[in-house]
Amino acid sequence: MGGEAKETVIQLRGVVNRLGGRTIHDHVDLDVYRGEVLGVVGGSGAGKSVLLRSIVGLRRPQAGSIEVFGEDVLSLGEAALRLLQVRWGILFQDGALFSSQTVAENIQVPLREYTAMSQSLMNEIAAMKLSMVGLPEDTAHKHPSELSGGMRKRAGLARALALDPELVFLDEPTSGLDPISATQFDNLVRDLQKSLNLTVFMVTHDLDTLKATADRIAVLVNGRLTVGTIDSLRQDKDPWIQEYFSGPRGRAALSS
């Protein structure tokens, strides 16, 4: 990336979301640049996942504009949105694997939908993606119900990466994982982000994950976003942000 001007991948301007009469996003602005890992944090129910769902077009905000790769997500037609969707991958909280299909078939869903590959090539690609996310080969034939939570997340990531997207959304990638698996997942995200040159939009609660992977952090408090690095956010005056980064857990995670 070096000296080049930073290319904006996601651009939010004045996004307003209301849920049941409560304003959860009050004119939110955000820029995500190519090749960075942006961590989004905030209290439970602060609207982190709603923000993610708005960006990928699962939810229509009440006001504001959302551009991804320079395209206005909110005004795109079906076909144009489809083209855009190929360029991003999403890992949902619990993997959201299709329960009626094996892991290999899950990974092949986007390949089957968007390419003309032969079955044998798709099998090879599925095997490669599985090993990329660190799952053993025999996982390919298993159904999601036979996998542990951590394995489901990895398999979900493999599916999200099936078409080599430029942008990856991760929703709570390490929640529910033991610390060792969580650390491995952090490293996995970082490694893949570097070697595949991904832009990552990550919703998380996990301070260790933030420290290990995020280049910048966006904090969602009272419907507003504050963006910065860990160091700059620690200087922020907002009581929630202070509590988050300087509370006992925050100190423990950041001092290590």
Binding site: L121, A127, E137
Partner: protein, 386 residues
């Protein structure tokens, strides 16, 4: 670094040139080696003939765009060459893709084989055998389940532990009984109308249209009333039992109940089954009345038969016996519907698809059993001469 934009560029296609020397093979790759274009080059790469070759060069330095699928194609080709005993002297891609290629090469694995033949005779026989086996297992499972729960609640009658939860029971009676009144009433009213119409048109030919009331009385009270009610309730409440209990199982609520020390039969099954056993006879009674009203309405409009005349005819046509024979079946049907619904709910596995599958199965099974039992009753009553 060139950032290709998938929207403005008309995606450049991949290129592959294969040149053969005396003993050396040279591959020159260029263009876009990406997932969406992979189908264009994959067959070519698979078809490369390496016989008589001892050396290979793979030059990908002209590649404009490479993703992990394209990378895999290159790595696979290299691995195939090496496996065939060739020496790969050159393996090159643009600098910016080296990290990607390293990742793929470090991770390469044997692909999983998973495409299986599905349309052979053997597979067909296998499916038949498997389905038969499953049906038998299922029958034994339901039977042993019904036996177990029956024992458990007979025991609770002999040694009352106060394990019938009255609040839950009343709630279930409301849910399966009172809330079903509109749909059951409407359906059976319409069926009464249809039966009466059928009787009138057929019996008119013999000038015996008055006997329509006999058909209505015997048919509705003895068979149709209870059968239609049971089938509606199987679809409405049996399925709800399976879905409710199944969803609770998916959410680990059943496990939580057990660890708190709640008896699942007491908490979930008894209120539902007992509630249904209490509610269905009343529903049947109500259905009989609504069906007769439907029939009477038709008779009034078609035959000009007044309500008192209808009542007189009915009084002559049916005895209390006819009515009791119909009603006595209701609790039995209710027991079967409730049991099957709860049993299938307990069988749900921890995935979303399972709830839907077992709900369907529960409805099909309970309707099937209700009709089989009804036939059984008919045979029994004819033996007893009722």
């Amino acid at each position: 670094m060139v950032i290709t934009d998938g929207f403005t560029s008309t995606e450049p296609s991949p290129s592959l040139e294969i040149s053969r020397g005396a003993r050396a093979l040279r591959l020159v790759a260029g263009g876009s080696w990406i997932a969406r274009q992979a189908a264009m080059i994959d067959p070519q790469l698979r078809a490369i003939d390496v016989r008589g070759m001892s050396e290979a060069q793979i030059d990908g330095s002209a590649i404009g765009e490479l993703d992990s699928t394209g990378g895999w194609l290159l790595v696979r080709t290299k691995l195939t060459f090496e496996a065939a005993g060739l020496r790969v002297t050159l393996f090159q891609v643009p600098e910016r893709y080296m990290a990607l290629l390293a990742l793929i090469e470090a991770e390469h694995v044997v692909p999983p084989i998973e495409v299986e033949e599905r349309d052979t005779l053997k597979a067909f026989l296998e499916r038949i055998g498997l389905a038969t086996h499953n049906a038998l297992i299922q029958a034994v499972g339901i039977l042993s389940y019904v036996g177990r729960v029956t024992l458990e609640w007979l025991e609770s009658i002999y040694h009352p532990r106060g394990n019938l939860r009255v609040t839950a029971l009343v709630h279930q009676i409301e849910e399966v009984g009172i809330n079903a009144l509109p749909i059951v009433g409407l359906l059976i009213f319409l069926i009464g109308v249809v039966l009466a119409y059928l009787g009138i048109t057929q019996l008119k030919r013999f000038g015996a249209e008055v006997l329509t009331v006999d058909i209505l009385g015997a048919g509705l009270l003895r068979e149709v009333g209870v059968l239609i009610t049971a089938i509606v309730i199987a679809g409405r409440s049996g399925s709800a039992f399976t879905a409710q209990i199944g969803t609770m199982k998916v959410n680990e609520e059943l496990d939580a109940m057990q660890t708190i020390g709640l008896n699942l039969v007491d908490v979930l099954i008894l209120p539902r089954v007992v509630g249904l056993v209490i509610a269905l006879p009343f529903l049947t009674l109500y259905a009989d009345v609504m069906g007769l009203i439907g029939g009477a309405t038709m008779c009034y409009f078609d035959l000009g038969m007044t309500i008192p005349a209808f009542m007189r005819e009915l009084h002559q046509a049916v005895s209390v016996n006819t009515f009791v024979v119909g009603l006595i079946k209701a609790p039995v049907f209710a027991y079967v519907i409730g049991m099957v619904g709860c049993y299938e709910g307990m069988n749900v596995e921890r995935n979303a698809g399972s709830v839907g599958k077992l709900t369907t199965r529960s409805v099909v099974e309970s309707i099937f059993l209700v009709i089989v039992l009804d036939a059984g009753f008919a045979i029994l009553f004819s033996f007893l001469g009722i």
